[in-house]
Symmetry: C2
């Protein structure tokens, strides 16, 4: 990915709200799907506090990709790959910075507060990985204190299939799931609402051009399969998970809801913020050849945060309490390119619009833990909030918000928007 | 499900090939999607050696469900639920048995040998279960001789999410997958083609009307969510699986291909063949209340079989070697209704056209083992074929075919077609 004039920090937009501290300056331009008065599920791009209705400015876009941008989802456009995505970015950067185009584009701007956001794609398959090594270690330690990481972890980017039907865009209420749990002292499980509802702070990856069944994506081409990034919350019921997960992995503990942020932030927008991959400690094995390679700076220089507000905090007008903050590249033992090369190495076909989760992004620091399971040490050390309330896990009325920002010297910083969910009983 | 005149064993069709020993007598009438000369992905029904082009007989069908049956997949029709499915069956049974309709319907018949079959639906999600208790025991014994079944097995219908993108219809070549495997004596894993490629004999369930996110399907309504049944082969790379599966379950070992038979055999066609559920041994726990109930005869009275042909056997003109045969209801510890109630009990939404696998159907008998892993006891006791060849796992050139038949006193027996796959290097 190259840096071009769309990244110029001096470039401002005639959309003024894009020019201060915004997640969506003219250097970002994330894609989305939205509805507003009289417009149903149209392709859009965020700029400052607004959304651009892309089909409405087809002429200004040179009547390019008209069919793909007229769809109610982004799958067709993402399937086109890097070239059209770069060209659209360049054209929009030009249209939104040059006053000469204001009259043509301004009528196609809709305030974000007047829009309803939707999932950006029809998700054919959703896969969740587990590349946060500190998370895997923290969770493993609760089960195996002396040997927290399993022997395969440093060879295999561990992942599993998630449920596509229950992925929802930010704002979807989190209905507390029921299921079987087995209290430690009980002889048999009981059925009822989860008592250990948790969040997982993750990033999501949207797939662009995929691969045919039976053909792997080599590590050196994996970058081209990435269409964009989002925030992802892998809501988890820890009590259901502990009882059900052997031998085939998590199932009902996870598939009741997965939330994502609505804005697809492109690899082009992320170009200035890519960093070195995770530094493997001395003694760790080299990646096997099919996982060794890829782009020069494959790490995600994104600072991801989670914050909690309880009902009592909201009633008291209190600010959200930050639960964690850390850099994705400090958490991810495997890069997104390695994830893609691994996922397809057996011929499994990835398809445009597929969603991949990174797994929980915890850093090595105690203030960078991406789940309550880790923060409360399995519930043994509850967190105390400014109201005096304590939390081992999420209670009804709690609202959890994930955000992320990318910053780099000499560039305008960007954000990923937010991924929000309110727990209801 | 009730028995009506469509099940009358005296009813014959004017399509003569339906009247002898056929998988598709007039008492079956399974749905499908096919293409033939000049016709692309049309909805159809199998009768004897033929397929009926349903849109082509819209008028004879009373112009009912015209929009749903004009789709290139069955999702929309399956979403309509039991009523329209029953009405279509009754109408077709009438049209195909009464000579008066021969002139109207005959032009819409296409020989199966001239058609290409497709997946019947766009599969939103594919979930694979593990309800074959003898399979779970046989596999568990290879890891834990004294304690083969995990403590949750008799409480939880264990399942996990599979990959929807790599589900293909019968006939798709099985490209041997590459991946990481760790030889027992090695310090580190190696990457390359799987050396322990296996099949898994399963049944598939197609979902009709599903449920909204956050709303469970009660066990007493689970029957209404079933749209039909098929054969399913969950191709598995055992060496990849052994190395990757902890702690999140099977992934690349399974997601390179899943094969299904093209014909959706309806619950109505299966009505005479439903039997009692698996008899739980004395001392086994009662199902928890949310899994206790459902229809009077929820067991699948289907005899499922797997047969192998090697390249050498084909060259010698030899018949396929049967690997296993057994009754599904003798293998399934949990019923399909229990599977559906469990899958949705946390609010996970099932959608029309979703696919559910039962898991490998092994009976308690040594000639009813549904995988080579079990037949060869983990590769330690290879099978000898009529050619003198031996098999621990599948070799390139091997072809595996799954079939199933349903029989009951006083009824015309039906079949599910076949699910076939040839292993290529």
């Amino acid at each position: 990915m190259r840096i071009d004039d769309t990244h110029d920090p001096a470039r401002l937009s005639w959309v003024e709200s894009a020019n201060g501290h915004s997640d969506f300056p003219i250097q970002n331009l994330p894609l989305c799907i939205f509805s507003s008065e009289g417009r149903e599920r149209v392709t859009g791009v965020a700029i400052g506090d607004f959304l651009i209705d892309l089909p409405a400015i087809a002429e200004a876009l040179g009547d390019a990709w008209v069919e793909e941008l007229a769809q109610p989802v982004l799958n067709a456009f993402l399937a086109l790959g890097t070239g059209p995505r770069v060209a659209l970015r360049q054209r929009l950067s030009h249209l939104l910075s040059d006053e000469a185009f204001r009259d043509a584009v301004d009528p196609a701007l809709i305030g974000q507060s007047e829009a309803t956001m939707h999932l950006p794609t029809i998700i054919g398959d959703y896969t969740d990985f587990y590349v946060g090594i500190h998370h895997a270690t923290n969770v493993g330690r609760q089960f195996r204190p002396d040997n927290p990481l399993l022997p395969n972890y440093k060879y295999v980017p561990i992942g599993y299939h998630g449920r596509a039907s229950s992925v929802r865009v930010s704002g979807q209420p989190v209905v507390r799931p029921s299921g079987q749990r087995k209290p430690p002292e009980a002889d048999a499980p009981v059925f009822g609402p989860s008592r250990r509802l948790d969040y997982e702070l993750e990033l999501g990856v949207w797939i662009g051009p995929g691969n045919a069944l039976g053909e792997a994506i080599p590590i050196d081409q994996a970058e081209d399969a990435i269409a964009g990034y989002c925030l992802l919350n892998d809501w988890s019921a820890r009590d259901l998970q502990a009882w059900e997960y052997q031998p085939l992995g998590p199932f009902l503990a996870k598939n009741f809801l997965t939330s994502v942020s609505p804005f697809l932030v492109t690899p082009e927008a992320m170009a200035p913020f890519m960093v070195d991959a995770f530094v493997r400690p001395d003694g760790d094995p080299e990646p096997l050849p099919y996982l060794n390679g890829g782009s020069a700076r494959p790490g995600l220089g994104l600072t991801v945060s989670a914050a909690l507000t309880t009902q009592k905090m909201r009633e008291g007008g209190m600010a959200p309490r930050r639960l964690s903050e850390g850099r994705a590249s400090d958490a991810m033992y495997w890069t997104v390119e390695q994830i893609i090369a691994h996922h397809s190495c057996n011929g499994c076909n990835l398809q445009p619009g597929d969603l991949i989760g990174t797994g929980t992004l915890s850093t090595a620091s105690s203030d960078g833990l991406g789940s309550l399971l880790e923060i409360s040490k399995g519930g043994r050390e509850p967190l105390t909030l400014p109201t005096g309330e304590t939390r081992s896990f999420l209670e009804d009325g709690d609202e959890l918000v994930i955000t992320a920002r990318a910053e780099a010297e000499g560039f305008v910083s960007i954000g990923l928007g937010e991924c929000r969910g309110l727990v209801v009983g």
